[in-house]
Symmetry: C2
Subunit: 184 residues, 2 copies
C-alpha cells in the first residue's frame, strides 16, 4: 500500500499499473493480486487508510471548539496542515477520488464522500447562523466555496513544492471569517 501511494502520487492515477507498483515493492505482479484480490480493492484500501488518517487528525480538534467561528478556522487550519504533513498520501487520495468514475449509470464510488464533506461544513455554518455569529447566506454555496478553496491546494502543491501553506492558511481563515461574520 505504501508503494501504491508512492506510485500514484508520483506517476498519477492513469499511469499507475499493478506492474509498476510491484516493481516499486520489489515483488512480482501476481503477488499483489494474491493479497488484494483485485486492483480496485487495493485502491479502496488506500482510500480507507488515508481517509481514516485524515479524519482522526482533524475531527477532534474541530468539534472541540467553543464557537462556530473557531470551528471554521480550525477546519481550514487542520486541513492545510494535513496537506503539509502527509503530502504523498494526500496527493494519491486526490488522484484516486478525481479519477475514479463509476460506470455510465453508477454514481461513482467517491462522490458520496465529497457530499459528506460538504455536509460537514454546512453543519458548522448552520451552527454559526444559529448562534448569530454568522450572517445569512446559502449554506450550500458557502460550503462549495470553502471546500473548493481547500481542494484547489493539492494542485498548487503539485506545481510548486515550496508553496507556502501557512500563509495560505492565514489568508483563508481571515477571508472566510470576514465573509461569514454578521456585518456591523
Amino acid at each position: 500500500m505504501e508503494c501504491a501511494i508512492d506510485a500514484i502520487a508520483t506517476l498519477g492515477y492513469a499511469r499507475t499499473s499493478l506492474a509498476k507498483i510491484a516493481k516499486l515493492a520489489k515483488l512480482s505482479p501476481g503477488s499483489i493480486s494474491y493479497h488484494f484480490g483485485s486492483k480496485d480493492e487495493l485502491i479502496q484500501a488506500v482510500v480507507s487508510e488515508v481517509a481514516k488518517l485524515a479524519t482522526e487528525m482533524m475531527e477532534p480538534a474541530i468539534v472541540a471548539q467553543p464557537t462556530a467561528t473557531d470551528a471554521l478556522r480550525v477546519y481550514l487550519e487542520t486541513n492545510l496542515e494535513f496537506m503539509g504533513r502527509h503530502r504523498k498520501p494526500l496527493l494519491a487520495l486526490v488522484e484516486i477520488i478525481t479519477h475514479a468514475r463509476g460506470g455510465t449509470d453508477t454514481p461513482g464510488p467517491y462522490t458520496a464522500q465529497h457530499e459528506l464533506a460538504l455536509k460537514d461544513i454546512e453543519r458548522v455554518l448552520a451552527w454559526g447562523q444559529g448562534t448569530g455569529e454568522f450572517r445569512e447566506f446559502d449554506l450550500r454555496s458557502m460550503a462549495i466555496a470553502i471546500r473548493g478553496a481547500v481542494d484547489a491546494v493539492p494542485a498548487q502543491l503539485l506545481r510548486n513544492p515550496d508553496f507556502d501553506l501557512e500563509l495560505l492558511a492565514r489568508e483563508l481563515t481571515t477571508l472566510f471569517t470576514i465573509a461569514t461574520r454578521r456585518q456591523p
Copy 2:
C-alpha cells in the same frame, strides 16, 4: 469533435476511446486517425476550441467594467453563466485538464493554462488594491480561493443536473465582494 466532447463529458476522460467516439460519430476508428493524426491531437483540438469559446464569451465583458469590484463580480457571473450554457463542452474541458498529466518529468501541458487563469484574477485584485477598493490581502491566496470556488462547480453540476447556478452566482459575488472590500 462534437462527438468527442459528448463522449468525454458523458463517459469521463479515462473511459473515452477512439472506438467509442467513432461509434458515436458513426464512423470507423481509422477515420478519426486519418483526420486528426493521433488521439492527442484530437484532444488538443477540443481544448483549443472550447477555450477560445470561453474567453470570447467572458473577457470582453470583464475588461469593460469601470471598477475592480464590478470586474470581479462579472468575472464570477460570466464564468458560471458559461457553465450553464455550455455544459458538455465545459465538462469535457475540465475532464481533459484534470486528467492530462505530462510524463514524469514534463510539467503537463495544461498546468500553464491554469496558472494563466490565476494570473488573470490576480490582475483584477491588484487593480482593486491599487484604487483602494479592496483591503490588503495576499493576491495568490485570494485568487486560489476564487478560482477554487469556480472550479468546484462542474463536479456539482455532474452530480446534480438541476443545480441552481444563478443562486450560486449571487452568493459567490456577495461572498467575495465582502471578503475583498476595504473594511469600514
